[in-house]
């Protein structure tokens, strides 16, 4: 390959900007009542209707009437009907530039196919899950939501209605909501949740300044070779229209999209759930959360010999908590091994957990991944956030081939002294973070033997006087903790027209045009600034950042309260 093109691609892939959430262990779920999906804000109404219907049915029964009203609320989870033979077609048509401004270079058929195959191999390679794809077929024609063909296409798809401008890749999954469905012109009986059709559309020309590429060999930022195989920036493209060039790796994106085809939602663990992390840290590998998630849908009993299960219930004031995030943290390494969320009855069940000792904690979906980020799941966007993180006092033991039961985890209501710790690499308000589903929160990356200085954390009651910041496991220490009263948490400022007069000069600022001055400064919040050191030899992998209260003041008690950023820091390989 031409050397200069290769180097541009190197730049481009480093500028990769990924907007998709990652795969991991939350299933694609839907709550169905009377044959229809339940809207989150209609959930309570639906429960009332069920009660009413039960009363009516009782009355009808007493009167000898046959008519019965629906009373069943069903949670369905999406899955492939034939996980040992998943059919996937790859459309390797060369991408066609829509406009002269599109910068995407061509990706050859063979390299696109290889890139997709590599992503498939990752999922097929999960030993504890029983998933196999049929040999890839070449697709003919465009993808279609109800033709029963799972198609991955790499071409400019003209005008898909409702697809946002600027989105270079999206996944569309069609699944059955009931036992009997009309599909491809036929009435068929299926298991509710069966994925009937799934398509992945790569359309880089939808973002004229993004260039997708395929890659050969290992990809590591900070070390290792990056060999761009194909695609990237068209050498003849006019880049002057782009203020920012970004790029994405086809395999990396396919790993996430194929997860959706398999029925997996986004993870609420930052180290698994952030797409950027997937790119930087775990590219071409899956986290334990991903693997366990897949095994929960398609368990491979032959290899799940040293694995056990955990189930239980989460309550708040003795009432079930929906959408609480349960995390198992390895007691030795501190790694968040797997996470799951509670259903509408507050119950959770996680299977295929490696035997061992784990700390278990329950947290609201208020960070790092926010509930809005779970776009495919009813449970996510109906999640209860009004409670504080609760950790079980003692570690639990997962025993091979056995189910460990936690009868009940009673969480406490959110209080004024509760913590909500945040680390943002981009300054944003809490509301922004909520609205963005936590997608801005990128885990801190640290190498073994490295010290990071001046890392900001902010949030409710995050102050050195209220508690202590630490990192799960061993090997990572937090030092030089100091209060910081002015952590910028909002990027917003305004500029106003200004003209110098003989008596007053405008307040010039490089952020504004020369004819303007700063009219309003961005918000700042107090928090803490720390240094973080990773001891040499610390094994790579994700960890949790934890803020634990230690104030016994009766007026503002924080002792024992905690909040964490699950998977908020990752020890990277050298």
């Amino acid at each position: 390959m031409n050397k200069k093109i290769l180097l541009i691609y190197t730049l481009a892939c480093l500028l990769y900007c990924c907007i998709l959430p990652s795969q991991a262990f939350i299933k694609i779920t839907d709550l169905v009542f009377d044959g229809m999906s339940v809207d989150p804000d209609e959930f309570d109404v639906t429960l009332e209707l069920i009660k009413e219907n039960k009363r009516k049915n009782k009355a009808n029964e007493a009167k000898g009437k046959v008519k019965r009203f629906p009373t069943k609320l069903t949670t369905i989870t999406a899955s492939q009907a034939n996980p040992k033979d998943i059919q996937l077609e790859v459309d390797t048509s060369e991408v066609v530039a829509k406009t002269a401004k599109d910068i995407q270079g061509a990706i050859s058929n063979v390299n696109f196919l290889n890139a997709i195959s590599e992503a498939i191999s990752l999922w097929e390679g999960v030993m504890i899950a029983d998933v196999d794809f049929a040999p890839l077929k070449f697709a003919s024609g465009q993808p279609n939501s109800d033709d029963g063909r799972n198609v991955i296409t790499f071409r400019a798809v003209e005008g898909i209605e409702g697809a946002p401008e600027g989105t270079p890749i999206f996944t569309i999954v069609t699944y059955a909501r009931s036992k009997q469905v009309e599909f491809m012109g036929k009435n068929i009986k299926v298991k509710p949740g069966t994925i009937l059709d799934a398509d992945i559309v790569y359309d880089p020309t939808n973002d004229p300044c993004l260039a997708l590429h395929t890659t050969e060999g290992d990809f590591k930022i900070g070390g290792g070779d990056i060999a761009i195989a194909d695609g990237g920036i068209n050498p003849n493209a006019d880049l002057s229209n782009c203020t920012f060039i970004s790029a994405g790796d086809v395999t990396d994106l396919a790993v996430r999209s194929i997860a959706h085809i398999l029925g997996l939602e986004s993870s609420a663990i930052a180290s698994a759930g952030s797409a950027s992390v997937g790119q930087i840290m775990t590219r071409y590998s899956l986290t334990s959360d991903d693997e366990i998630g897949l095994a929960n849908i398609y368990p491979n009993k032959a290899t799940l010999t040293n694995h056990g299960s955990l189930n239980g219930k989460v309550t708040l004031n003795k009432k079930p908590v929906t959408g609480a995030h349960i995390v198992l943290e390895n007691t030795t390494t501190g790694e968040p091994t797997v996470g799951g969320i509670t259903d509408t009855k507050g119950k959770f069940e996680i299977n295929s957990i490696p035997a061992g000792s784990y700390n278990v904690y329950v947290e609201p979906l208020d960070g790092p991944i926010r509930k809005a980020g779970l776009g495919f799941s009813f449970l996510g966007f109906n999640a209860n956030l009004n409670f504080t993180t609760t950790i079980l006092p003692d570690p639990i033991t997962i025993t091979a081939n056995k189910t460990t039961r936690i009868k009940n985890i009673e969480v406490k209501e959110l209080s004024a002294s509760a913590f909500n710790i945040n680390h943002l690499t981009v300054a944003l308000t809490e509301e922004d973070v909520n609205a963005s589903s936590g997608a801005f929160i990128l885990p801190i990356r640290i190498m073994s033997g490295e010290t990071l200085t001046d890392i900001d954390f902010w949030g409710s009651n995050i102050n050195p006087e209220f508690g202590t910041l630490s990192v799960s496991g061993t090997g990572i220490t937090v030092s030089n903790v100091r209060e910081n009263k002015s952590i910028p948490i909002s990027p917003f400022f305004t500029c106003a027209e200004c003209e110098d007069t003989p008596t007053s000069m405008c307040s010039r600022d490089p952020r504004c045009d020369v004819t303007e001055e700063i009219d309003e400064e961005p918000d700042e919040l107090p928090g803490i600034t720390v240094d973080i050191t990773c001891t040499a030899g610390t094994p790579p992998g994700p960890r949790n950042i934890i803020f634990t209260g230690d104030v016994l003041d009766p007026e503002n008690p924080s002792f024992g309260l905690r909040d964490q950023i699950s998977g908020g820091i990752i020890v990277t390989e050298d």
């Binding site: 050397k3 180097l7 541009i8 190197t10 730049l11 480093l14 500028l15 990769y16 839907d30 044959g35 999906s37 809207d39 989150p40 804000d41 939501s145 005008g159 898909i160 209605e161 409702g162 697809a163 946002p164 401008e165 989105t167 999206f170 996944t171 569309i172 069609t174 699944y175 909501r177 009997q180 009309e182 599909f183 939808n206 930022i221 900070g222 880049l239 950027s276 809005a372 776009g375 495919f376 966007f381 690499t425 981009v426 300054a427 944003l428 509301e431 922004d432 609205a435 589903s437 801005f440 001046d454 990027p491 917003f492 305004t494 500029c495 106003a496 027209e497 045009d513 303007e516 009219d519």
Partner: protein
């Protein structure tokens, strides 16, 4: 990605406000990128002196900066400018339709307050919103797209961050995954 509580700039221009360190990194990135592209495009590499060392140095610098700058690289432009319009109002109608093999759900948005709009957007009493995917009640199937909002409130006041669609029709909008706020502080808006 968006910034729902952003106050519209009086000049309709937005910028990330960064502290000095971050600004330095961003500037470094931009400068290095520009140097690099300038070298590649304006000159043949073979004509440059010490080309191997130069490229190596630039690449290393870039790698270091890029790793530190990942957040910025992956951050959106936190601005209303990425939206066609930001509107407070209610979705009043809903219908699932199909075109070119893909289902989409069409909503009609009744605007109550225009918070921001691009000059190319004409104010209208009823806006058309199209979102990829939908629920086919008769057929018993659900179609979900990774780009679509997880929940779309009907007949409920909300703030909608309207974006353009791939069809690029000026009077048709869409909403992405995080483009709806149902619970906001009206004082800010």
């Amino acid at each position: 990605m968006f910034a729902p509580h952003q106050k519209p700039s009086k000049t309709n221009r937005s910028t990330l406000n960064l502290d000095s360190n971050k600004t330095f990194y961003i500037n470094s990135l931009v400068i290095m990128q520009q140097i690099f592209l300038w070298l590649v495009y304006k000159y043949e590499l073979s004509m440059l002196p010490c080309k191997k060392q130069l490229i190596y140095l630039l690449t290393i610098c870039y790698l270091i900066s890029a790793s530190r700058l990942n957040a910025f690289c992956t951050s959106p432009n936190n601005s209303f400018e990425k939206y066609k319009a930001v509107v407070m109002g209610q979705l009043v109608k809903k219908a699932v339709k199909k075109k070119k093999g893909f289902y989409y759900t069409e909503y009609k948005l009744l605007p109550k307050k225009w918070i921001y709009k691009k000059s190319s957007v004409k104010k209208s009493s009823l806006l058309t919103i199209r979102i990829l995917g939908g629920e086919l009640l008769q057929k018993g199937t659900v179609i979900k797209a990774s780009t679509s909002p997880s929940y779309i409130p009907l007949k409920q006041d909300a703030v909608f961050f309207l974006e353009g669609t791939t069809t690029k029709q000026s009077d048709i909008f869409t909403i992405t995954k995080d483009g709806i706020i149902t619970n906001w502080d009206s004082k800010v808006l």
